[in-house]
């Protein structure tokens, strides 16, 4: 028998569910404990931010919100491995990665609070990242197109897209990794597999034992990592980004995690999944895991934790206030960004909207 193709998918984990280190070959960044503390602090602030968002929604100050609870290691791992000049094409809950790249919590609140200005990220490098993409997996092709632009212009930049386990079922995902392989594009696709696409479990999405292996068919490097272990996520990202930057090919990374919250605030996950499953998932909590590891290395403790949480609370309160104090855009704003210059025909409709507005006042 001759074999036409053969593959295997590596699984990468440094920290187990309790935060015990399971391998000795720590990557360079993880040997820098100050840096690990910084990453932990961002994971924690992401969690504080998320809780604040849900509280805002529950009190009627935010529209529907997609929580990132449980994804903190995956998201911060992705964002912190990227260079400023790289480009992120996220779906709609990758706040950990985005906060690292300069998105402000007030912008997230603004977006879910019904204001397009939330997508107008003010700080670099987020300012040159894509906005949240709600139509599933469509952003993967934006990353592929960005990577193609980088290749054509000879820029040493990498485009990163993130999608969920459900998103990896879509043609846009397959199309993106396919052209990335065919054109050797500097692109990294990260499947943040949180086990649930709203109510549909991972096993209904695909018969493949890993989602990472979908990249094999596209000719990409593929790896599955413990998505609740930030060291594993970031290490896989760093390797993938380095290869892509050097023209050695794109990657698919599957970060296996769990969506600890509802799909969005409009969802009730109790309708379709059992309490025990969620309880088991909490035992693998990415935040607690890294905390244990840092505490064991004596660079973190409960006192520091409380102090940082208090700082985060202040930060978020400040962001919430900034959001709540933002005046609604004038009604003309819905017209002003439709085209670079407003066409005469549309101008008449804008005038109508403005006149209705004036009558109302």
């Amino acid at each position: 028998m001759s074999i036409a193709a053969k593959f295997e998918i590596e699984y990468l984990q440094y920290l187990d569910a309790e935060g015990k280190q399971v391998r000795d070959d720590l990557p360079a960044f993880a040997q820098d404990l100050d840096q690990m503390v910084e990453l932990y602090k961002l994971m924690l602030s992401t969690r504080v931010f998320d809780a604040k968002s849900i509280a805002l929604q529950r009190t009627g100050k935010l529209g529907t919100y997609a929580s990132c609870l449980g994804h903190e290691a995956a998201h911060v791992g992705i964002g912190s491995a990227m260079k400023p000049e790289d480009v992120l094409a996220p779906s709609y809950r990758e706040y950990g990665a985005q906060l690292y790249r300069g998105v402000q919590p007030r912008e997230v609140y603004m977006y879910w609070g019904g204001d397009e200005r939330g997508n107008d990220y003010q700080n670099e490098p987020a300012r040159h990242d894509f906005a949240w993409s709600v139509p599933i997996a469509t952003q993967c092709l934006h990353a592929a197109g960005s990577a193609l632009a980088f290749k054509i212009r000879g820029e040493k930049r990498v485009a990163v897209c993130t999608i969920g386990d459900g998103g990896s079922s879509k043609g846009d995902f397959y199309g993106a990794i396919n052209i990335a392989g065919a054109q050797n594009l500097p692109m990294v696709a990260v499947i943040v597999n949180n086990q649930w696409a709203i109510s549909v479990p991972r096993k209904i999405q695909s018969g493949a034992p890993t989602l990472a292996q979908k990249g094999i068919a596209a000719g990409l490097y593929c790896i599955q990592v413990d998505g609740n272990d930030i060291i594993a996520v970031r290490k896989a990202m760093e390797d993938a980004l380095e290869r892509a930057r050097n023209g050695e090919g794109g990657s698919v990374i599957e970060a296996v995690t769990y969506r600890l919250g509802d799909h969005t605030t409009a969802d009730d996950a109790r309708r379709y999944r059992g309490e025990q499953e969620v309880k088991d998932a909490w035992a693998k909590d990415p935040v607690k895991r890294l905390k244990n590891w840092l505490v064991a290395r004596k660079v973190w403790d409960d006192k520091k934790e409380e102090a940082w949480k208090a700082e985060c609370d202040d930060w978020m309160d400040n962001e919430v206030n900034a959001y709540l104090e933002t005046k609604t855009q004038p009604v003309s704003a819905m017209f002003d960004y439709t085209f670079a210059e407003i066409p005469a025909d549309l101008e008449k409709q804008r005038d109508l909207a403005l006149s209705l507005e004036n009558k109302a006042h």
Partner: protein, 326 residues
Amino acid sequence: MAQITLIEAVTQALAYEMAHDESVVVLGEDVGVNGGVFRATQGLQEKFGELRVLDTPLDETTIAGVTVGMAAQGMKPVAEAQFEGFIYPMMEQIACHAARLRNRTRGRITVPAVWRAPWGGGIRAPEHHSEANEHLFTNIPGLRVVLPSSPARAYGLLLAAIRDPDPVMFFEPKRIYRQYKEEVPDDGEALPLDVCFVLRDGTDVTLVTWGAQVKETLEAADALAAEGISAEVIDVATLTPLDFDTIAESVAKTGRCVIVHEAPKTAGFGAEIAARLAEECMYDLLAPVERVTGFDTHIPLFRLEMKYLPSTERVVEAAKRTLAAS
């Protein structure tokens, strides 16, 4: 100066803009070595290389989405949908992203891209190769829908489309790709978007059309002239944003209007023009507005397709009805 066809004018415009702006790239299926199935990109890969004239994997969704991504990075991609009938998988990327990114990011991300597609019937093509579905795009805010109808307008409008900072659908009437030749100087002069072109002045009736039907409509104007009826012919060219003023001015003069298009009648773009005439020009009208369109059926396979497409005779008869009514 060489005389060129409409399709050669497309090639000439692409080559001109690629030579003068290195951010312009062409991508699609068979656009490279093969030069496109209609030869619109003939010789471009030789001139500009495999990266700027890129054969993509055979997936329309990929072409559309990658185009959005490249444009968001400041390039000016010109994507080809091989046939209008294959454009449907591209629509999500066009409607949800290309046409929307400027608005949803308050101008932070823009998509200066063009989607070209050979459009319409009448070339005895196989099934799914003859669609006219421009009306599916004219209802998408933030998008320009442009149809050239002569070699000179193909050249000038394609240059304008590529230079436009917003996404443009550029639908090429393939039935008249090689209908006739005319002199088109390769001078890089764009024609204006968002305006109608008055192709023939007249006083008795206004014939409004676009794309390949310009041929039948001009023929109808000739036939009417032979009977002493003076028809004004307007090529809408940019359907959205619509230059309604030019149509309204003409109807104010003639009092009669016939709208001609090959897409199905119901909710075709002719319905929009007819509605606008009813809203804004009611008291200028001497007769009911007529529409001469494709039927509300799928365009038949080619043994019957010419029975589906509006004919010169139908346009002439409709024009005469408007005259008989007043």
